[in-house]
Amino acid sequence: MENTNLKKLLDGINVQADWIGLRQVFESTTYRIIRDDKPQANQRDATHGVMIEVLVNGQFGYYGVNSFDPLRIQAAAEKAVKQAQLASKYSIHSFTDKVRPAAIGKYQSPYEKSQALMSAGDLNDILMKGCAKLNVSDKIVSRSAFARLVDCKSNFVSTNGSDVEQKYTIISCDFTATAQDGPIIQKRTDHGMLARSYQAGMEVFDENEILERCEKIGNQSVELLSAEECPTESTSLVLSPDQMLLQIHESVGHALEIDRILGDERNYAGWSFVRLEDFGNLQYGSKLMNISFDPTVENQLASYAFDDGGMKAEKEYIVRNGLLVRGLGGMESQTRSGLPGVANFRSSSWNRAPIDRMANLNLEPGDSSFDDIIGSVEHGVYMESNRSWSIDDYRNKFQFGCEYGKLIENGKLTKTLRNPNYRAITNPFWNSLKMVGNRDTFGIYGTPYCGKGEPNQVIRVGHASPLALFENIEIFGGA
């Protein structure tokens, strides 16, 4: 990638267009997996290409190309122009280059220890030790240790002066133990599937810390075998930050994407119960609910300086004191809807056009301690680590399941519960938010796998949250 002069390629394009942009992406993803003390995968997938985007007659056209040959780039630009011209007769909106503001700057993920400083052998060795540590009982039937390392560089230049370079260093890891006792099988992971995903370096693989976590994961998987089934009732529900990750993502994030509200996604993931006129008017949750879009949080998975349309990334409140104040939409959605938005016009790679995504979407801390929250509950259930998720196409009726639960009795965590699930409807659920944990209860998580769009795109999102208490929620157990 270092040898590709994107500006020179842009200067060499000769087509009639109102605007041209080139976005180059190189990304390598390395997987190292140990299962049951044997190597399961050592694999690196690298992708490298360039997206040529043109604006003609108010319509954007694109061509994602797996080559940096100037002749291929020129031919692709000509075809992108042709596509845009032909489509402009049917455009849903006539855009100008104002939706691609000139952006100049750089971004680099923070990290302490670069990926190059830990060899494949050393990382396999740490994972092997972690995998062994999970083996706390003869009831453990399967164990795995997983590492995913991403090295990504993107570069965006345009005819109206953009020149952006952003480099991401991303680490995800997970340790999983599955325990079995007759027909009962229970699995425990490291905070839910790949929730531990960060912009960070190899400092994440601290051996002592990993071994400690693995022992706890193994023990909890065995503990769940003899745990009581989660009861079926409506009660107080305390969610840990690693489950709030999913709760925020599904019932706040996707519902507030402006392109979705405008109907772009109706044939795939669906629409939204939120309407354009709800911004500034809808009481989305209780007054304790404060949601921020914040791509500036250090180490959080979806931090960056500019989105893929060139909009500068800044923190904005989306829900303030429970009131819906701003949508998740980049410059194209802001122009189409007339609403204020955020810098979230993002693509998964060089071969996909940007759409509205979430980035980091967080529940801001409140002022209650962990003990305050648990102590306030006479009878209820505490749940952590997501294992099941499903929500309707309007982002209303959801059902989520967790790996691990605890009964709360008279202000104390008591019995362990297995197969904890809950279901509710988005607005009533968030309006039942009764207590929000303070900074001490705050956890930062994310997922590399948020799917959306046609053609489909998987993208990284970050979600941070304190502990949260919801009242009168329908909970239930397993089959």
Partner: protein
């Protein structure tokens, strides 16, 4: 592309040293994507992508990698050689792997299908006008897909096909929707217009005032598209032998507790329709037909060679993930024209949405009803229903509650494009259930 792939691959094989072995895969697409909203164009573009993947085996160690290739043989070989050198450095540091799948030469194959795709420049003039009276959202994906495989002991496979799909939703002013997919290898404009016309007719039914139904257990018919959504779940912790062995499969109960499903339910991995290649990333060719569930009994699972080595089983050359590549559910005896009469009073579900295991080991799946779903009374459609959440076990709806299966397995094409445009689809009939749990 085919020659380029083999040229680069053969040059790489010549670079092997000592006891090294190499398996090489190739996947490429040349695609047009047009995204629609309001029967207008939201985004339009083209994508050329190609990936060369290698697995290097050195003694008892293995590692793999993939890179983007451009079609320029010299440049691609240079990049692939760099990747091979990286793999060689990597593999020397890794622990021994007792379950390596060595490359073999069991015979080569070549399959190529050429179609008549929508004209990439003028297709909008064909696609949009039939929707002039309705709100439509969806995507056209069209172009050529290529997959190849070769190894250092001389085996070669190639599969290439032209395909298109226009996957769309029609929406009434009251936000009721109908889903349809016009897909194939030959675009026929008259056939297309008739197809769209039928989906618009179906939309008329959605104009009726909607009915809200309460949570509870209902007699239910799930049409083929909804059944396909359920069967796709089986590729995620269902059919996989490794998942069963590791306690992560909904089929564990069938294996460990000898539980049988309904005799009316039979399911197979069946490549006879020819929509996907039979070879996997190892270059192994799966049997043309493999029965998975026969009249309710689990008779086979999907077993990759790696899993076979680990658990002392016989491989049926499944993919690495041991999911379905070409699932076919057998039809039953219920005539499609008799579905409403046989349902009597209950719920007709055309599509499901956002399925997930709510208790994987228990076989319980949750999800939503979506699109053309109706309340039926005495064999007549009364009203579309407001979307409901379901949460029920496959051991119920493919077990005692499976009352009948329609007599025609329909093709539900894969339209996914995450890793690239997918091939094939799920062939399945509709199912009539004596009870189905709607929960929210």
């Amino acid at each position: 592309m085919e020659n380029n792939f083999y040229q680069v691959g053969e040059k790489l094989v010549q670079q092997l040293v000592n006891d090294e072995k190499l398996k090489i895969s190739f996947g490429a697409e040349s695609s047009q994507f047009i995204r629609f909203n309001g029967a207008k164009v939201r985004q339009t573009g083209l994508v050329d992508d190609a990936v060369l993947a290698m697995e290097l085996i050195s003694g008892k160690r293995t590692t793999s990698g993939s890179i983007t290739v451009s079609g320029n043989v010299d440049q691609d070989y240079k990049n692939a050689l760099d990747e091979l050198l990286r793999l060689r450095n990597d593999v020397s540091q890794l622990p021994e792997d007792p379950f390596i799948v060595e490359p073999e030469n069991l015979g080569s194959s070549r399959e190529e299908h050429t179609g008549e795709l929508p004209d990439s420049e003028n297709c909008l003039e064909d696609i949009i006008p039939p929707f002039n009276r309705v709100d439509m959202s969806g995507i056209l994906a069209s172009g050529r897909i290529m997959q190849g495989n070769m190894n250092s002991v001389g085996q070669k496979h190639w599969f290439a096909t032209d395909t298109f799909s226009l996957d769309y939703s029609l929406i009434t002013p009251t936000e009721k929707m109908v889903k349809a997919t016009y897909a194939g290898t030959n675009w026929d404009h008259e056939d297309y217009q008739a197809f769209v016309g039928k989906s618009i007719e179906k939309l008329e039914l959605m104009q009726l005032p909607p009915k809200r139904i309460e949570p509870g257990n209902y007699r239910t018919f799930i049409a083929s598209a909804g059944v396909a959504d359920i069967l796709r779940m089986f590729s995620w912790g269902g059919t996989s032998e490794a998942a069963i062995q590791q306690g992560e499969s909904a089929f564990c109960k069938m294996r460990n507790e000898n539980i049988r499903l309904s005799e009316k339910f039979s399911l197979s991995e069946d490549f006879r329709n020819g929509t996907v290649p039979r070879f996997n990333a190892n270059g192994e060719t799966a049997p043309e037909l493999l029965q998975i569930i026969d009249k309710g009994k689990l008779v086979n699972t999907l077993i990759s060679t790696r899993t076979a080595k680990e658990y002392n089983k016989k491989s049926n050359f499944a993919s690495g993930g041991e999911g379905f590549r070409s699932p076919v559910m057998a039809g039953g005896s219920l005539n499609e024209d008799d579905v409403l009469n046989e349902l009597g009073t209950g719920v007709y579900l055309s599509n499901l949405h956002y399925l997930n295991w709510s208790d994987q080991i228990g076989g319980r799946i949750t999800g939503m009803t979506r699109y053309a779903c109706f309340w039926v009374e005495d064999g007549k459609i009364v009203a579309p229903i407001e979307n409901m959440r379901f949460d029920d076990s496959l051991y119920n709806f493919f077990g005692d509650n499976l009352e009948a299966v329609t007599d025609r397995a329909r093709m539900n094409p894969e339209v996914g494009t995450y890793e690239g445009r997918e091939l094939g689809g799920t062939f399945c009939p509709g199912i009539l259930l004596s009870s189905f749990a709607l929960t929210l």
